[in-house]
């Protein structure tokens, strides 16, 4: 009996240690994010050194008058917004991906794989090529607003499909793929009829780039994240329970339909906002949650923040890479994330095959 008591104490202590370890991993990821962010700030095509960059930020906050105007513009209007936007977009996409994967019970679910990005591109294309937009939206925001509305609609469509009786997780992914192809064809059609200048604009939009970042967009995306994250966190235990199947979760008192609906609502807002501001950024929403899950497991109290941090980290590092691959040129970040993401995607599919 005393042996059992020993063992019981070991298990309780072991669990508490596990929790501390997970909190430590979240902390480490935050530090890594900060590191990547600083790196992202000091690297760029213009010859502003690391020391100059840091002091430009310092002076910009404490004594703006002393700032060299050319350095000030580079740091305050280019690098800082880009670097912050990279973190925010990475966090938003990865949180959306993590929630989608749990709620749809599908490891391959993400805003990119289920057509949310493609829908946003179609919305943007309508604005760019045909000048179609939501009435009353100012011309600065019309592309983003269109992208948002289309992305949001695509998630609602998926949600409607998911609610149909007998629609399993596999069906949903197939629907998502069908959606991607259909939307891409429509975008192709618009590209075909587009004038040369709008074609160029559209192609760049589709690539996904941080170059569109500005302080207004940062403000909007920050507010969205701050508003959504508390709701995600407050349903983290319910989502953990949901991982063990609908019946089980419901029998534990989880209103599964409600949890799923509210989560997909959050996903729509996060994914649509992120894509609307920077265009198509593939695979962050897929890869971020997977890396986080490998690091930290599926207790959603830790998985959700870890996914956000991993997404932000990968995005920030991709931003650094996008400036370093070709010296003096900033490659659109969507290209970089896809190049990194595709091999990871394949690895995940192969790993899943083995597990079955």
């Amino acid at each position: 009996m005393s042996n059992n008591v020993d063992q019981m104490q070991r298990v309780t202590a072991g669990y508490r240690q596990l929790v501390r370890k997970r909190a430590a991993i979240v902390l480490l990821l935050s530090v890594a994010c900060l590191g990547a962010f600083l790196l992202d700030l000091v690297i760029g095509p213009s010859q502003v050194s690391a020391v100059e960059s840091i002091s430009a930020i310092w002076n910009g906050i404490f004594s703006p008058a002393t700032l060299d105007p050319s350095v000030s513009v580079i740091i305050w209007e280019v690098r800082l917004p880009h670097a912050i936007m990279a973190l925010l977009v990475g966090a938003a996409l990865a949180l959306a991906g993590a929630e989608m994967q749990t709620i749809l019970n599908n490891p391959l679910a993400s805003p990119f794989t289920l057509g949310v990005s493609s829908a946003a591109t179609l919305g943007a294309a309508l604005a760019i090529v045909l000048g179609l937009g939501i009435p009353g939206v100012s011309s600065n925001w019309v592309i983003s607003a269109n992208a948002f509305v289309f992305a949001f609609a695509s998630v609602l469509l998926l949600q409607g499909m998911a609610r149909l009786r007998g629609t399993g997780a596999e069906t949903l992914v197939l629907l998502g793929i069908a959606l991607v192809f259909t939307l891409n064809a429509l975008v192709g059609l618009l590209q075909f009829v587009a004038a040369e200048q709008s074609l160029q604009q559209l192609v760049f939009w589709g690539m996904g780039s941080l170059a569109r970042s500005n302080w207004d967009k940062i403000q909007v995306l920050s507010i969205i994240l701050l508003a959504v994250v508390p709701f995600s966190m407050s349903s983290s235990w319910k989502m953990t329970a949901l991982r063990m199947g609908d019946d089980r979760a419901r029998s534990f008192g989880v209103n599964v339909g409600r949890v799923r609906f509210l989560s997909l609502l959050r996903v729509s807002i996060l994914a649509a906002a992120a894509v609307a501001f920077v265009g198509t950024v593939g695979f962050i929403g897929l890869v971020g949650p997977h890396i986080a899950r490998m690091l930290i497991g599926e207790d959603h109290r830790f998985l959700l923040p870890a996914s956000m941090l991993t997404g932000a980290l990968v995005m920030s590092l991709s931003s650094v890479a996008s400036k370093m691959i070709v010296p003096g040129v900033m490659i659109p970040i969507g290209i970089v994330t896809s190049l990194i993401g595709v091999p990871v995607f394949f690895a995940l599919i192969l790993r899943k095959r083995e597990a079955v």
């Binding site: 063992q7 669990y15 319910k238 199947g245 019946d247 029998s251 989880v254 599926e298």
Partner: protein, 269 residues
């Protein structure tokens, strides 16, 4: 242990009256009524494949829409919210899904944290509670192991631990012994029996009739969505019933202590 007994007292009886359930247009159970299910005893739900056993259990658990009346004590279960109902009734599905990156401890803790349970405990108390349940089920040694690395039988024990941890008045267990070896079958059934003796109503779907007659005081035989026999194992399970319902030629042997053994000779073609 639980304060939720304010509404549902420990001697509350579960009544299933005239319930029907269907998947789409296909009727699975039709106007089914059971003798009131008393707490303190184990009720075994047996019957051939596709008889509607799991559907009946899921109906009682509130997982599928039904018509008819379900009451626990004086309370109409249909009028309860998800959270309220889950305080009194917990359902254990047949299988625990694979590919989940959680430790056994977390799996059980999540069953407690998923919804308020009518009593508040600090995290420390919950952790101690989880460990006690692990010990009671006899799986404290795998408490920190990842669910992914466990065998089917071990996962089934973890699944049972989730239900036991919630300490409900009514336990609905769908084939809790299907993946277990002989020793663990006996361990689980004796645990199920003692859970009932502590004053809970336990309904358990079983395929093994000998196991059902050994551990259950009450046996309900279902075929084609209807109750075909009900009562003590000795009265419910007869050679005629086995021929009618299962289509097998079988003998019933009485062993010591009033237990019966079912010996199947052949299938009736």
């Amino acid at each position: 242990m639980s304060d939720s007994s304010k509404v549902i007292s420990r001697d509350s009886v579960l009544k299933v009256e005239g319930i029907s359930a269907s998947y789409g247009k296909k009727s699975i159970i039709d106007n089914l009524t059971l003798t009131p299910i008393r707490p303190g005893i184990v009720t075994a739900l047996v019957g051939p494949n596709a008889a509607g056993k799991s559907t009946l259990l899921r109906s009682i658990a509130g997982l599928i829409p039904i018509t008819g009346k379900l009451t626990l004590g004086d309370s109409d279960l249909a009028r309860m919210s998800h959270v309220e109902r889950a305080k009194h009734i917990t359902f254990m599905p047949q299988s625990m899904p694979q590919g989940i990156s959680l430790s056994v401890f977390e799996v059980i803790l999540s069953a407690l944290k998923a919804s308020p349970m009518g009593f508040s405990r600090s995290d420390e108390e919950l952790h101690d509670h989880v460990t006690k349940v692990l010990d009671r089920i006899g799986i404290v040694d795998i408490g920190l192991r990842p669910l992914n690395e466990l065998s089917g039988g071990q996962r089934q024990m973890v699944s049972l631990a989730q239900v036991v941890a919630r300490d409900p008045h009514v336990l609905l267990l769908d084939e809790p012994t299907s993946a277990l070896d002989l020793k663990h079958q006996v361990k689980v059934m004796s645990l199920v029996h003692s859970l009932a003796q502590e004053g809970r109503a336990v309904v358990v779907v079983l395929h093994d009739l000998s196991l059902a007659s050994r551990w259950a005081e009450n046996v309900v035989v279902i075929d084609g969505g209807k109750v075909v026999a009900e009562g003590s194992p000795e009265s419910a399970i007869t050679p005629k019933l086995l021929a009618d319902v299962y289509g097998v030629e079988a003998r019933i042997e009485r062993c010591g202590a009033g237990r019966i053994n079912v010996i199947v000779d052949s299938a009736i073609s």
